[in-house]
């Protein structure tokens, strides 16, 4: 079977800096993958390579056997933040409508069929009740649900979610994760979920892709979130502290590099 995502020997340099080097990963259909790493580790760079807005320096990415530019319609993408969309006066529903088949020529006419599809995704994320309100007046959690709804248009095979938890409080983080997990069970979509902190995702993810020092490690939480594995990845001493269902990644010097209370951090 063709893997959902196959990354082979991926190298990305931007402005003379090596961001990613020799990254390999094979991700199967229907997997829920958490993508983690410290600020500047290249999480968003990797996402941009997958969705096709950044061409890698060398190496290859295949999505369902296709190149990123061919695979566009199989990918549901949720960019970091609101993608520059903020001061608008359009309703959340109009925003989703504008996104659906927005890459076609012609007038932005919403056909009956596309209206149904928009209704469907709004129902899936349970946003129907506030979809008629202006996007700009929605709360952070509501906005993220609308952004998720857009990513679900057209039933994509892969969901690429870039830091959807950023700037959400713990309660809304849990609600959004629950929503995504439910979608995944429903449609068997492959989920690539970029986040700062592993802990909120412990119960839903199958494997972890951890980026640090330009390199990547892929495996289960138990395989990747260990002092040995992350020390090797970071290139300096890292200690992983595990409690029953919690992970804390700490540098040996004592600076916490990733922690559960960093829910209000400014992401990169």
């Amino acid at each position: 079977m063709i893997p959902a995502l196959q990354i082979s020997n991926l190298n990305v340099s931007l402005g003379g800096n090596t961001i990613l080097s020799g990254v390999n990963a094979e991700i199967g259909n229907g997997e829920f993958i958490g993508i983690f790493g410290p600020n500047g580790a290249g999480k968003t760079t990797l996402v941009r390579c997958i969705v096709g807005t950044l061409v890698p320096t060398s190496g290859s990415i295949r999505i369902l056997g296709l190149s990123p530019s061919q695979a566009g319609k199989h990918i549901g993408y949720m960019p970091q933040g609101h993608g520059g969309f903020d001061l608008t006066a359009l309703s959340a529903r109009s925003l989703v409508e504008a996104t659906f088949e927005g890459d076609h020529w012609g007038l932005p006419w919403t056909s009956k069929k596309s209206k149904q599809e928009v209704n469907r995704v709004l129902e899936v994320v349970e946003a129907t009740s506030y979809a008629g309100r202006r996007f700009s007046v929605l709360s952070g959690g509501e906005r993220q649900r609308i952004m998720l709804a857009q990513a679900l248009l057209g039933n994509p095979r892969i969901l690429v979610l870039d830091e959807p938890l950023a700037s959400l409080d713990p309660k809304n983080q849990a609600l959004l994760i629950e929503c995504i997990a439910r979608v995944q069970k429903l449609t068997d979509v492959t989920v690539l979920f970029v986040a700062h902190d592993m802990n909120p995702l412990m119960n839903v993810m199958d494997r972890v892709l951890y980026l640090a020092g330009g390199h990547a490690a892929l495996g289960t939480v138990d395989e990747v979130a260990t002092s040995e594995s992350l020390t090797k990845l970071y290139g300096f001493g890292i200690e992983v502290v595990r409690t029953k269902n919690r992970v804390f990644v700490v540098s040996s010097e004592g600076n916490v590099t990733e922690q559960s209370e960093c829910t209000h951090h400014d992401h990169d």
């Binding site: 309703s91 925003l95 088949e101 927005g102 890459d103 202006r134």
Partner: protein, 285 residues
Amino acid sequence: MSRSRANALITTMIDTLSTYLGYDFVQHALIAGTLSAILGAVVGYFVIIRSSGFAAHSLAHIGFAGAAGAALVGLSPLEGMLILTVGAGVFMGAAGDKVNRSDLAIGMVLSMSLGFGTLFLKLYSGYAGQAKSILFGEIFGVSETQLVTMAILSILSLGASAIFSRKLLFASVQPRLAEARGLSLPALSMAFMAVLAISVTLASQVVGILLVFTLVIAPAGIAVRMCRSFWPGILVSVVLGVVVVWTGILLDCVTTYPATFWITTIFFVIYALVEVYHRFFVKDG
């Protein structure tokens, strides 16, 4: 005022109006006004959504040099302005956000254009009243040839917008998503800025360069405040634009106060009413 006197006044006004409506220059003004109002309302909607109001404003000012310099090379002000604004618009579209959000860069180019415009006016001393009509518009001075040019330009720009409006809306509200779906943001931005340049040029024929904002921003701005989705927004914007421009021109005929004054004032009053309504009566934003 007694009832009969009021009736007499209204009758006189209607008489004056019907006399004026028979004149060529009034008919031309109404056609030119309608064309630029429709184009301005549609393009303005995207200007608001893309928050590129400053770009629209600066294009008009850049056009001043073109309109003023046109006579030197034997072109009409309309042609001169069109060439310069479309060129500048395409350049601004290609340069991208970094340049377009730079107040300093735009401000410098703006003032330089106005400076050159002043020079051109001086060099071509044949046109004494030219500056005034470029800056404030000369709605009752539109010739038949100009009307034909304006009609062709309106149809071309509306047609072009119709072809790429779906992509443009997507790219405006979700640029990163649009990029991931293979849309070229610079190409769309250039196409849009070219249409905006044409729209600004047409609007300046009616209300002048200084007041382009009233036709390209005002109706769409008010419509966006009133409607939450695309088609109602465009519709309200167009209707507002056309109705206000007609009212302004006709009020000019009966009152002799300039149409530009009426148009800007009516838009401002509508804007203020909508704003007040939203502040005090709409909880939902």
